[in-house]
Amino acid sequence: MQRVIVGLTGLAAAAVLAVAPAHADGTVKIGLIMTYSGQFADVATMMDNAIKLYMKQHGDTVAGKKIELVRKDSGTGGTAPDVAKRLAQELVVRDKVDIIAGFSLTPEALAAADVGTEAKKPMVITNAATAIITTRSPYFVRTSTALPQPIGTLGGWAAKNGIKQAYTMVSDYGPGIDSEGAFQNAFKLNGGQIVGSVRFPVANPDFSAFAQRLKDANSEAVFIFVPGGEQPAALGKALAERGITPKTMKVMSSGELTNDDALKGLGDAALGIISGWTYDHRHKSALNAEFVKGMNELLGGRNPDQFAVSAYDGIHLIYEALKKTNGNTDGDALINAMKGMAWESPRGPISIDPETRDIVQTIYLRRVENINGQLGNVEFDKVEKVKDPVKEKMKADGKLTADGLAK
C-alpha cells in the first residue's frame, strides 16, 4: 500500500511538472533533508553552513536561475526513516522542488529512494555513507563517501605495512557493519589476521566493558568505528583507562575518532592514532585554506569537518550540473550532467563515477600528532582515485546493472 501511495504521489507530482514546466519564474528549488535538531544536529549545522558559504562565494543565481533552498528537519524523530520519507514527499508534491539534497543518515536516504525515483528528482547525498544506498535509485548521487572507501583503504594499508593481527570494534548499525566488513576484507586480502571483533549498541554511554574485551584479546592492533558525537571521546577514554593507547597497541579508526571535538576530549591519549579518511581541515591547499577561513567565520571559530566539505561539494555539483544543462531542471538531464563530473574540492581532486554515481576520491592516511600545542591529524600517505570497494565487488560479481542499481 505504502508503495502504491508513494507511486501515486510521485506520478501526480510528475504530471503537475509535465503540465507546467518547473518554475517559469526562473528559480531552481533545492529541498534539504537534514537532522537540524536532535542527536545528529551537529551534522546539519556543518552541512547547512557549508551550503551557505558556497552560495555566499558563488552567488545565488546559476545559469540565469535563482537558487532557492527549502529546509526540512528530519531530526525530530531520531533516526525515523518514515519522517524522511514524508519530508521527501512534501518536498516533491507541495514545495515542488527540483532537487533534493542532504540526508544526514543512511535510513533517511534509503526511505526517500522510492520518492525520488518516482518523481525523477536528483537526490544529492551529502552525508549518509552506507555503500549500497546509491544502488537503490538511479537518481542518487553522492558527494560524501561510501564508508568502505576510507575504511577498506585503511585495512589494506595496515596489512601492507607490517600489521599482522587486528581486532575490530564497531557500532552495531549499517555504517558500522559496513566498516567492519570493509576493514576485515581488505586486511585479510592483504595477509592480515582478524583475531576478534565486537559490535556495541549505537547508543552506548559507557565503553569500559568493550575496552576490557579488547584488552583480553591481546591483539597487536585495533580498528574502531564509532559515529560522531560524544561517543569517540567516551570510547577513547575508556580505552585509555585500561591502558590501551597508541603507545601500547596500534589504534586505527575512521575520521570520527580523531576529529577536533574528539581530540579535545581525548587529550594526549590520542597521540599516534592512525586514521583513514576523506578530509581534514589541516589539508594543505589554497582552496581548502579559503574554505576553512569561510567556515570559521560562519561557525564562530570552529573548524569544518567531513560533513561540511561533503555538503560544499554537493552544492557545487548541483551548480555545475545546472550550468551544463543551461538551467534545465529535468531530473534525467541533471543526473546525466553530474555523471563523470570531476572537480577540485577542498579535500583534493574528486569526481562522480559515471557507472555508480558515487564519489571517487583520494583517501588520506593520517596520524594524530601534536601540532604547535594542538592535537591534529597529519597526513602521511594517500591513495588516489579510490572507488567504493563494495560496489566494485558487486560489479565484478555481476550484481550491478548498467545504471549502477542492485540487481
Binding site: 549545522t45 559490535r199 556495541f200 559507557d206 569500559s208 566493558a209 583480553d216 571521546a233 577514554k237
Partner: protein, 288 residues
C-alpha cells in the same frame, strides 16, 4: 583473571554511581511531590554547561565549578518551579508530562542556540586522569573520584533526611501530605527546597558526567530513560532504592556487555521488566 572481573565490577559500580547522582533528585521529587518531572535531565544539562563555561571562559579549575553547577541547576529549578510547575501540581500526570517534556524540547533548542550543536569536551586536571594499579588490579582515577563523590552525597542525603529537623519534615510530607499540612507544616516550602536540592544534584551529576558520557544539547533527553529506570525500579522517594538500583544497573549493564555483547544492550531492560513484574512499586517503595 579475577583482577579483570573486579576491575569490571568496579567500572560498572562507578557508572552506576553516576546514574545515581543523576537520578536521585528525580526519585525524591517524583515520590514526594507526585510530580512527573521529565525535565530532570534539563537541570543536569544546566549543571554540565555551567561547568564547561566556567572552565573554558573563566578558566576555573574543575573542582571549583562543581558547587556552581549545583547552585546553577538548583536556582534554575526554583525559577521554573515558581513560574510553571506550581500551576500544575494538582493537574493530571498527562498534563505534567506534556509540560515537562515541552520544557526539555525548549531547553535543547535553547542550548543548541546558545552553545552550538557540538560536543563540549572538558580537560580534567591531570591527577584525575589515568589509573592506579595495585598488582593486577587497575582502577581509573576518575571513576574512583566518581564513586567517592556518590558515597559522600549518599551519606549527606541519608544524614540529612534521617537526622535533621528538615529531614523529618520532608519524610512527613512524603508519608502523608494532608496530615503534615494539618500539623502546620509549610508543605509548599518543603517541596520547593527539596525540588531545588534534587535539581541541584542533577546539575552536579551533569557536571560529573561530562568526562564519562559527554555533553551536548541532547543531553537533556539522552539519559532520561536511565533516570526513569533507576526511579521506577528503585521505588519512589527512596534514596536507598535509587542507590541500590543505580549500582545494580551500572554493574549489570557493564557485565552483560562484557560477557554477551551481542545482546548486552537489552539485558538492562530485561532486568528492569523482571523487577517491575516482581515488585511493581519498585524495590524499596515507601508507598504502595
Amino acid at each position: 583473571m579475577i583482577a579483570r572481573h573486579i576491575s569490571l565490577l568496579f567500572d560498572g559500580f562507578a557508572y552506576g554511581m553516576l546514574l545515581f547522582v543523576l537520578s536521585v533528585g528525580l526519585s525524591v521529587t517524583l515520590g514526594m511531590m507526585n510530580f512527573v518531572n521529565l525535565a530532570h535531565g534539563t537541570f543536569a544539562m544546566i549543571g554540565g554547561y555551567t561547568t564547561v563555561m566556567l572552565m573554558r571562559s573563566a578558566g576555573w579549575p574543575f573542582f571549583a565549578t562543581l558547587p556552581v553547577a549545583f547552585i546553577g541547576a538548583a536556582a534554575a529549578s526554583v525559577v521554573l518551579e515558581r513560574v510553571l510547575y506550581r500551576r500544575l501540581y494538582r493537574a493530571s500526570d498527562l498534563d505534567q508530562s506534556l509540560l515537562t517534556i515541552g520544557i526539555v524540547f525548549v531547553s535543547i533548542a535553547a542550548a543548541a542556540y546558545v552553545f552550538g550543536t557540538g560536543q563540549q569536551p572538558v580537560q580534567l586536571p591531570g591527577y584525575l586522569r589515568g589509573r592506579i594499579e595495585f598488582g593486577d588490579f587497575s582502577f581509573g582515577l576518575y571513576r574512583m573520584f566518581l564513586v567517592a563523590s556518590a558515597l559522600v552525597i549518599t551519606g549527606l542525603l541519608v544524614l540529612g533526611l534521617e537526622y535533621t529537623r528538615f529531614g523529618a519534615r520532608v519524610r512527613a510530607c512524603v508519608d502523608n501530605q494532608r496530615m503534615a499540612r494539618g500539623l502546620g507544616l509549610n508543605v509548599d516550602a518543603v517541596f520547593s527546597i527539596t525540588f531545588a536540592l534534587g535539581s541541584g544534584l542533577a546539575g552536579l551529576g551533569g557536571a560529573l558526567g561530562i568526562e564519562i558520557v559527554g555533553l551536548d544539547p541532547n543531553f537533556a533527553f539522552k539519559y532520561l530513560v536511565y533516570m526513569l529506570i533507576v526511579v521506577a525500579v528503585g521505588g519512589l522517594a527512596s534514596i536507598r532504592g535509587a542507590f541500590v538500583t543505580a549500582a545494580m544497573l551500572g554493574v549489570i549493564d557493564i557485565v552483560s556487555k562484557y560477557y554477551v555483547p551481542e545482546i548486552g544492550a537489552f539485558v538492562l531492560y530485561f532486568v528492569m521488566v523482571s523487577f517491575l513484574v516482581w515488585r511493581p512499586a519498585g524495590l524499596f517503595a515507601r508507598r504502595t
